[in-house]
Symmetry: C2
Subunit: 181 residues, 2 copies
Amino acid sequence: VSTFARQNRFVSADQELGQRLGAWMNLLQADAVMAEVLERHLEAVGLSLAQHEVLMRLARAERNRLRMLDLATLLLVSKSGVTRLVDRMEAAGLVRREACPTDRRVVYAALTDEGRRRIEAARPVFARGLEAAFSRHLDDRDVATLRAILRKVLEGNGQWQERRCSPTYEAESAEPARVVS
Amino acid sequence: VSTFARQNRFVSADQELGQRLGAWMNLLQADAVMAEVLERHLEAVGLSLAQHEVLMRLARAERNRLRMLDLATLLLVSKSGVTRLVDRMEAAGLVRREACPTDRRVVYAALTDEGRRRIEAARPVFARGLEAAFSRHLDDRDVATLRAILRKVLEGNGQWQERRCSPTYEAESAEPARVVS
DNA sequence: CAAGATTGACGTTTCAATCTTC
DNA sequence: GAAGATTGAAACGTCAATCTTG
């Protein structure tokens, strides 16, 4: 080890953090890399990653709609964040706001026909993006192991929620397109 | 994956996508949860997570300084992003811009005395944050496995760089890029 | 011309305050 | 008062254009 390394407190101090800091850095970067790949793939169908996730969440939700606050929770954004996101997507015709008849404080974000077409068109594209960023480099055991470890982290932080963390992609096409008046 | 499933492109594709999608969602959320815990811990020493990473990168760099562009690469932000970040941190007295005598296009971001004090004060706090968000829930094998898997993903995407991904890599080049003939 | 850094314009997200409804 | 949603102001980051230097 160089003289510099011995002089630098951080190098030795990092031994305490050990592999933990590295794991955190790798997590950050894997996230960034994968997001970039997915974003690039979704450009082909004119959706941002955020928009895609909104549509995906709505597509698999009961009656293809979610309360604004529930959507915010699923997307890991703030209340105002989801308001603005839905603003833009409503302007783009991808979603529609609906009133709740039983509680007038509640606003639903609902999938439009156009939104449904777009998420269905995006599906194979997104799958290919995930393949390119992820599957191509990992086997099934790796993926399962990764999920198990991440689950431990989330559960340890009291943040594991089946609905948010454990997707069952098949629900998306369970219902035929609904009539919209 | 069974032979039958492999023959059925729909089923096979969906099952695999579900696992991959789940892993991606878990990655996103683990990232968000850990970032939030770390931010909260760092509040005690008056640093944001982004500021902390700048100081940490500078603290371990040769001569405690880095070219703006190298810093941007390490932080996974754009050129202008690092300009703005250093603007704010310079105003806060945490870093200082320095000219490069041999190449006047280059600007270094360098640690100030105050910056050094702050990153040293932050070190145990950050370590506790990492412990709370991460280490507490995983054993050494989990961490090693996680890193190995994430490394596969990064390498597969051509984004593995020892310097950026491995915290024990001590030396940063303080010199301008070498000319390759 | 190419590399490094900054700037201006812009898009996105958050916080705090506000409004409405329960 | 509390819950749900929205709004204005501000923070933060990016892109494209620009400036300077090699």
